[in-house]
């Protein structure tokens, strides 16, 4: 069932907060969702419908309370923290609403960070240095691709909101993940910046075959995705391919 080529498969996924306590609250009620490699999906729904929770579970930042989760054919439902971290590192990229860059690091370093994690110091210092040079080259290439060739050595505080979000996109892509999860990536940007960010995401999706799941409130943006999933009160209310993709 899981081995059907789907990148993501959720089956009967439930999430209850404060489980076992009097104030227990189930926010996701048996989600069934499959995402194919390279799909470009919008996740829409009113506030409090459970979008962020679903995104966190897909991103292995939270665990479901019931049901199962297969990622790239592997059952990750009961993964321990280290395995989840590893899977996250290998397969997933994140773009947050408020970019969430590390203020103490330059733009280039922020993009490099995911590459440096797990980059253990071996006995052979030189191959190590070569690997580091590779990470740097890839980070630079991505920053160029998002149009920030001039901003390598700028700290996030010196960049505009749109530029920060571009850095965050580059960071999400630096390890060539199979799925990028974006939580309102254009939520705090003006329409112009928002359009160009969206165009970038679309471009990476087409050129590199990266699947994206984009949480958005903006119907204009949702209209430009291949597929729209609507979540209402913790249930999938609608899930359909977008007939008329506006590009």
């Amino acid at each position: 069932m899981a081995d059907d080529g789907a990148l993501v498969r959720l089956q009967g996924l439930r999430k209850t907060y404060n489980e076992g306590l009097p104030n227990a609250e189930e926010v996701l009620h048996g989600i069934e969702l499959a995402i194919q490699p390279g799909e470009f999906t919008a996740l829409i729904g009113p506030s409090g419908s459970g979008k962020s929770t679903l995104l966190n579970i897909l991103g292995l930042l939270e665990r479901g309370s019931g049901g199962s989760y297969h990622l790239a054919g592997r059952d990750v439902t009961d993964f321990e923290d280290d395995e989840r971290t590893h899977a996250r590192h290998e397969m997933l990229g994140f773009i947050f609403q408020f970019h969430h860059l590390l203020p103490a690091f330059t733009a280039l370093e922020n993009v490099m960070l995911p590459g440096l994690i797990g980059h253990r110091r071996g006995r052979d210092g030189r191959s190590n240095a070569r690997a580091a040079a590779g990470i740097r080259a890839r980070a630079a290439e991505l920053l160029d691709a998002v149009g920030l060739h001039e901003a390598y050595d700028k700290k996030p505080g010196e960049l505009s909101g749109g530029m920060q979000q571009r850095v965050a996109i580059a960071r999400a892509l630096v390890r060539a993940p199979q799925l990028v999860l974006a939580d309102e990536p254009t939520g705090n940007l003006d329409t112009h910046s928002s359009d160009s960010i969206f165009a970038l995401l679309r471009q990476f999706n087409r050129e590199r075959g990266t699947a994206l799941l984009i949480v958005t409130h903006d119907p204009r943006l949702a209209a430009r995705c291949d597929r729209i999933v609507e979540l209402v009160d913790g249930r999938i209310a609608a899930d359909q391919p977008n007939a008329v993709v506006v590009v």
């Binding site: 923290d81 971290t85 947050f96 969430h100 203020p103 690091f105 440096l116 994690i117 240095a129």
Partner: protein, 408 residues
């Protein structure tokens, strides 16, 4: 930034980002280290000075023949009335028989550094009209130098003890009106006398000793004192002067001789030194605890401040162990930074106070020597301390739930 590895890179960056916070905590650690460094240096100097002064020309341990005692005629039952009034016997010049064997056995004893045979007794030093009561110490110079550093006490002349040579205290020379190279006569209580040439003048650390001591060749002293081939005591140097008593106990157990350590003869000084050590140990311990608490509290705050960043790092793939490492390393680096800065500060304090604090003779109370061993120990200790102080904050950081941390 890539060459250092992930944990160290992030730890360094976090510290740098924390500017004021980092500066304060490193400053705090540095002051603690400086005080410990200073106390240790001063204490070592002052105690060394005190011990040097007290022991002066004394050996650490002296092996003597047992005192001759008078046994009361009726001894034993306590309830029986004592008949005799026991009159202590006048002490003759007693000697150790078969001393070469005893010297070898003593030398082999654990904790003993060096042993020298000594034939010593009182005599009269005479030059012209002047005569002074003196203590003749006859010994083998080469062996004796390993027990008492006479070479450090030479004020004039050269250290040599050929037959007929003598080394005398500077005050005695003055009293006799003698200068280097002069001859003077020494006459023993037994009536024999010998003439010696003054080869060196010694400052033995106290007026009393400087006024009375005459060092001669062993044979000369033996014949002067009428004890040819025999000695009156073995002078012993131990490896650790504060443990002279333990060595004395060991020697006592294995020989029938009378053993006296400098600690016995200077009991009060030793007790004072011991009390000083306990007090400073207490002070150092509390300073260490305060520094550790300071490092821990700053890091606890830092973990709270960096919640979101920790969450992001976890989201992009950093493991719990790596986050633990990031904060443990911060503790270690704060410790090392504080120790290096503190050692520098401590050295400055020592150099300042070595000019101010002086002993009775106007010499500096302690000398400024760059004890890199101490710096090494302090730095290592501070690194370990920083690590321990960081355990709790680092565990908080590692346990943070990334989803919650990012949500803020």
């Amino acid at each position: 930034m890539t060459a250092l590895g992930f944990e160290l890179t992030v730890a360094l960056r976090f510290l740098r980002e924390g500017r004021m916070q980092t500066a304060l905590i490193i400053g705090g650690a540095a002051i603690g280290v400086a005080v410990i460094f200073f106390i240790t240096s001063v204490l070592t100097g002052v105690q060394g000075d005190l011990i040097r002064r007290v022991t002066g020309a004394q050996p650490h341990v002296v092996v003597k023949p047992p005192e001759e005692t008078v046994a009361p005629l009726i001894a034993g039952r306590d309830d029986a009335p004592r008949v005799a009034a026991v009159q202590a016997r006048p002490q003759r010049l007693t000697t150790i028989d078969g001393w070469p064997a005893l010297a070898r056995a003593t030398e082999m004893t654990d904790g003993v550094f060096a042993v020298a045979p000594v034939a010593s007794g009182s005599a009269l030093g005479i030059k012209g009209d002047a005569s002074r009561s003196v203590v003749v110490v006859g010994t083998e110079l080469e062996r004796y130098l390993r027990v008492v550093r006479l070479d450090e006490k030479v004020k004039a002349g050269v250290l040599q003890l050929e037959p007929g040579d003598a080394l005398i205290g500077i005050e005695l020379a003055k009293d006799l009106g003698a200068v280097l190279g002069d001859r003077f006569r020494v006459q023993s209580a037994q009536g024999t006398s010998e003439v010696f040439r003054i080869r060196a003048l010694l400052d033995l650390g106290s007026r009393e000793l400087n006024r009375r001591y005459v060092y001669t060749d062993l044979r000369a002293a033996q014949s002067l004192l009428g004890i040819p081939g025999r000695i009156t005591n073995l002078d012993v140097a131990v490896r650790d002067i504060m443990r002279a008593d333990e060595v004395a106990g060991r020697l006592r157990a294995q020989s029938g001789q009378l053993i006296e350590s400098w600690i016995q003869t200077n009991n009060q000084v030793f007790a004072a030194i011991n009390n000083q050590n306990i007090m400073t140990l207490l002070i150092r311990t509390f300073i260490t605890i305060v520094v550790a608490l300071g490092i821990a509290s700053v890091l606890v705050v830092s973990v709270v401040q960096k919640r979101k960043e920790i969450g992001i790092l976890r989201a992009v793939g950093a493991t719990r162990r790596q986050m633990l490492g990031v904060f443990l390393l911060q503790g270690v680096m704060v410790g090392i930074g504080g120790a290096l800065l503190g050692s520098g500060l401590g050295l400055m304090l020592v150099s300042l106070f070595s000019r101010i604090l002086r002993n009775a003779e106007g010499q500096p109370l302690f000398s400024l020597h760059f004890d890199f061993g101490l710096i090494g120990i302090v730095t290592f200790g501070a690194a370990v301390l920083g690590l321990l102080a960081a355990v709790l904050p680092a565990r908080n950081a590692a346990r943070l739930d990334p989803a919650q941390a990012i949500r803020g």
